[in-house]
Amino acid sequence: MDLYQQLIIDHSKRPHRMGLRDPFDAEVHHVNPTCGDEITLRVDVDGDVVRDLSYDSLGCSISVASASMLAELLTGEDVGHARTVYAAIRHMLTSKGGDPGDEDVIGDAVALSGVARYPARVKCALLSWMALADAMAQSGIDLTEETHV
């Protein structure tokens, strides 16, 4: 089935940058109460740069792969770029299939576009991104601010 593209299987079996690391500015723990998927996520922000993103993720292939892609996409990037990627991912995942995702902006995460057609799974894919927004907010950065690309 096209939901489970090889990229999702690969990321979920060997999540990139997995593990909790020091130092960090904020740590959050988010759960998906309908299925028990969990993520603990830490951000280390240095001025305008996301210096490190570390996480411990327990859940279905979609939620683990999404966390892995998140860490890969945003580690070392500046906050402005993080806002752009965050907005693009949210738009794709909540588009009910209308937005296939732009590989130039969201890289491997385009593989998650199929999830948007399964409302029950959107939350799995969004879990790590909601955790990220929360952790950034706790570090004084609003990821949901309007971006002008």
Partner: protein, 434 residues
């Protein structure tokens, strides 16, 4: 359909074809034309025409508020509503005045928990010191409870200062009775347990628990949500004090549930929801209450749903509950055997048919239940994935989430075969097994 008087066996192919023709939804397709294979009856069952027609007839022929007014329709409506009560009561071996209509089992269990709570804070309409709780008193549940039979008791303990205790679960998924006498003690005031687990399938030894509870003077509440739809249940045989179930899991409509109670127990319970038509007299200062069951049925009731549920009971009686149980037993055997043949699965629950219902949960090595469910769903196979509202039980069984197959009278051996065919795609997609 005629009931057999010979020894009960599974339904034949011809019988199943006739039964399935009564359930219109079973003929539909899902996800790009796949025939629906519905294996989620534990969450909610499908409904036969007989139930849908009974509800429709209520609205087209007799609709009026029961127990209110004196016009012709109101009289007929009251009669139909009370006849439904009698039919449903008889289905579980009870007298008509012993059952209270609620919205579902969750509300029934909350009604029971709030009897204790309200008695403890001076609530009216009951008599009973039996229901007054405070620090030093204990409430006992089990580790395999659905949240609906756990959280109301947690909250009750929080409000009253009583202590919550529980019986554990063995690795096999049976109730651990080794410390029964130290968990249920002289301090225990109420024991609330599930009859058939919605996850493990385990049918609990009610008689053993009742005997221990009786010896210490505790009341016993039974969550019969997953037993009443699947096997013949007789409240007198069980010996419990209160028993809860939901209509929608037993071919009936959504929005109606039942709390059965021994008459003297219901009498002694303070009122829960209050308002219209549950009263005897009312002044500006206070009210006195109607007899059971009316004192627990505040507001215009879910009469159409009650009538629909009575039709579901008639339908099941016509099939014969012994046949239904035998049929589901045979399907459960197919499920257990099929999982045994697949070493990349791990059953969560007893791997034998003794005291076991038709909820079969399992995990697939290295693959999350959501992913298993997605592969099945893609081929039209509907199962439940997650913790099935039994999070502590999943923690106990070292499973983050499970995939649950659950059966009903209309489930066929072909459904089970289709499930396994779909399941066999999981190792391929996720590159496991070998």
């Amino acid at each position: 359909m005629s009931t057999t008087t010979t020894r009960a066996g599974a339904f034949s192919d011809q019988e199943l074809a006739r039964i399935r023709a009564d359930f219109p939804i079973l003929a539909r397709t899902v996800r790009d034309g796949h025939p629906l294979v519905y294996l989620d009856s534990g969450a909610t069952s499908q409904k036969p025409y007989a139930v849908l027609d009974a509800e429709r007839d209520w609205y087209t022929q007799v609709n009026a508020a029961p127990h209110r007014g004196a016009h012709a329709l109101s009289e007929e409506g009251t009669e139909a509503y009370e006849a439904a009560r009698a039919t449903i009561a008889a289905f579980v071996g009870a007298g008509p005045q012993e059952i209270v209509f609620t919205k579902n089992a969750t509300e029934s269990l909350n009604l029971a928990a709030y009897a204790f709570s309200n008695a403890s804070t001076g609530g009216g309409g009951g008599g009973g010191d039996r229901f007054r709780l405070g620090p030093g008193d204990e409430v006992v549940v089990t580790e395999m409870e659905h949240h609906a039979n756990l959280i109301p008791w947690q909250e009750l303990c929080r409000r009253t200062g009583a202590t919550l205790r529980w019986l554990g679960v063995t690795d096999e998924g049976r109730l651990d009775l080794s410390n029964l006498d130290s968990v249920i003690t002289e301090r225990t005031r109420v024991v609330s347990v599930v009859h058939a687990s919605n996850v493990l399938g385990t049918i609990n030894p009610v008689a053993t628990i009742v005997a221990r509870a009786r010896s210490v003077g505790a009341l016993v509440v039974l969550d019969a949500c997953q037993s009443v739809p699947h096997l013949a249940v007789d409240v007198a045989d069980l010996g419990v004090d209160l028993l809860a179930f939901s209509g929608h899991k037993m071919l009936g409509p959504m929005g109606v549930g039942v709390l059965w109670g021994r008459p003297e127990v219901l009498d002694a319970m303070p009122v829960f929801l209050t308002g219209g038509s549950m009263i005897e007299t009312v002044t500006m200062e206070r009210a006195t209450y109607a007899p059971v069951p009316q004192k627990f049925e505040a507001g215009v009731p879910n009469a159409a749903q009650a009538v629909g549920l009575a039709a579901a009971c008639d339908y099941l009686t016509e099939l014969g509950m012994d046949r239904v149980a035998a049929h589901e037993h045979a399907l459960t055997e197919l499920l257990l055997a099929g999982l045994r043949e697949r070493p990349w699965t791990r059953l969560v629950g007893p791997d034998d048919l003794l005291d076991r219902g038709g909820a079969v949960s399992f995990v697939v090595d290295e693959v999350h239940a959501h992913d298993v469910g997605q592969i099945l769903d893609d081929q039209g196979v509907a199962v439940r994935v997650g913790h099935h509202c039994a999070w502590p039980l999943h923690r106990r069984m070292r499973a983050m989430a499970t995939t649950r197959v659950s059966v009903a009278a209309y489930t066929t051996p072909a459904d089970i075969a289709a499930f396994f065919t779909a399941l066999d795609r999981v190792p391929t997609v996720f590159g496991i097994g070998g």
